[in-house]
Symmetry: C2
């Protein structure tokens, strides 16, 4: 039996939830160079959007926590590719190529991180086309990715009344004692790409209004960012969130799920969207809906608590 | 009076010359994911080449030495943008957008590095469209850049008999006591972009066979990479290398020049190419030519020394 108030307090004080705020001061420096030329307003999505003829190029950069790179060099390299590729699919795109930045204190570590990235590339069917290496430095890994799409999904197009669908691959298991769920390392490339291709396919079908991949902000943190970037609030019923049997809810809500997306859709296509995921073995549920009130409200049985009130606190990176 | 033998020995033992070799072990991990899909053989150029319809997209990733980021946060941010943009112009391209990876131990440092990058973006007329920030880590900065071109220049198309032109902007001065020449920080965007646009313009005119921007491997190190990647050798007359009055030759040959390119051209267009640079206030000279012999040979008055013998030692990153 969940104590909703306590659960939400603990989630709100978690590291991942608060880390995002440190970015505000350096980001302000870019106010006048953030968005010009062929770029589309880049705030709210994980990848930048660049108009190129009748298609959109997508460009993003993602790093792995240095502590993870140090302790788990192979896995961190693998995840560095996985998170970048997810950013592209979440926007309805397909990845074209990845470049990397790698630092390591010794040759053995550099090779492990690189082998992890190579495994990620193999698994996700994307080439590693360049990079930069810092020898004799602390372990670190990051990637930048280029993708493209003709049918763009944004995280900013949510509207009150849309249904919120969470799609997570519950297959697999927790990665050691990290806040990470491994639902991908045992898949072959065809399965992996088929699962990811669901998002661009749903975009083509015009079934999705807004989308975002679940990051280490977790399910509720990611939903909060999508909602606020769409200038909405959200209501979520905790009992509807897909969860594996093997894990408790509080841990699960802080986990990076490997394969996980939050979509908002019009209610009439809910079942068709869910079916697409289920056909590939992915669990998808309507967990709530977007609302006019600028807050994310969580319900659990008779309880009801505010998770974030956007009128008091912003999750949005503002310029 | 230069002692050529000693000079070459010291250049060969310099840090920048040897650093490049550390990359070989991690790079081997990427052997089977390096080049597939729409990418063109990526070895030998600073940016990866991706066919996209009738144009080429260029993607690269470049980091600044962590020691520089720590000591000179603003300048390192600025250089992180400058080096990436140079990679794109060197290939006949124009930059579209930059993303960054930033780490800093405290807010003040993060802001300085970001402000340096923003200044670089302003100067070079390119938007910063995304990034990833690691708070509470050692200072570091890197960028990835997307560019495009319809007329591609490669560093691999040199042929024996082509003239080697070095074009360096000698205006400005050394940046503090670093091995860096600042020829850009005092330019306005129009001047800067006009100077850089010379390379794509020469590509359009079909005047250039191979090109590479001068990195911290210096003039001779960069030329050696271009020559070997083109499966040529080179002969260079030291006295023909453009050099500012204020600096000694040994230091100059180790310097990252800010604005500096090595081009190979057919002898009949030498003067037209040089004229293009001179019209923008940039010093350009024929410093030698590509040869059939697989070594880079330096002459100075009556002396002649081998700088690199590719049959004994490779500068090329091999898979």
């Amino acid at each position: 039996m969940v104590n909703l108030k306590l659960l939400i307090e603990r989630l709100r004080t978690s590291n991942a939830f608060n880390r995002k705020k440190a970015i505000h001061p350096p980001l302000k420096a870019f106010a006048d160079v953030w968005n010009f030329g062929a770029t589309v307003d880049p705030i709210g999505d994980d990848a930048a959007i660049i108009k190129n003829g009748d298609e959109y190029l997508l460009l993003s950069c993602d790093g792995i926590l240095p502590q993870l790179a140090e302790k788990e060099p192979f896995w961190s390299g693998y995840c560095a590719v996985l998170v970048s590729v997810s950013d592209i699919y979440a926007m309805g795109g397909k990845p074209i190529a990845v470049v990397n930045l790698l630092s390591a204190p010794d040759e053995a570590t550099s090779v492990l991180i690189a082998e992890g990235m190579a495994e990620g590339c193999r698994k996700l069917g994307v080439p590693m086309v360049g990079g930069h290496f810092f020898p004799e430095e602390a372990s670190g890994v990051a990637t930048a990715i280029l993708g493209k799409t003709s049918k763009l999904l944004r995280a900013t197009n949510g509207k009150p009344g849309q249904s919120v669908i969470v799609a997570i691959d519950l297959n697999g298991g927790r990665y050691k004692d990290y806040l990470q769920w491994d639902s991908t390392s045992f898949l072959d490339t065809d399965e992996m790409v088929r699962k990811l291709n669901i998002i661009p396919l749903l975009a083509e079908l015009d079934f999705v209004q807004a989308a975002r991949d679940i990051s280490n902000a977790g399910i509720l943190g990611t939903l909060a960012m999508l909602a606020e970037n769409s200038q909405c609030g959200a209501e979520v019923d905790l009992s509807l969130i897909p969860i594996p049997d093997s894990i408790d809810l509080e841990t699960w809500l802080q986990i990076y799920p490997g394969y996980g997306f939050i979509l908002t859709v019009n209610p009439e296509v809910e079942q068709q969207v869910i079916q697409q995921f289920e056909d590939e073995g992915i669990t998808a549920n309507v967990i709530g809906r977007l609302t006019k009130e600028m807050q994310v409200v969580i319900t659990s049985l008779e309880e009801k608590e505010v998770f974030v009130d956007f009128t008091e606190e912003s999750m949005v990176v503002e310029m």
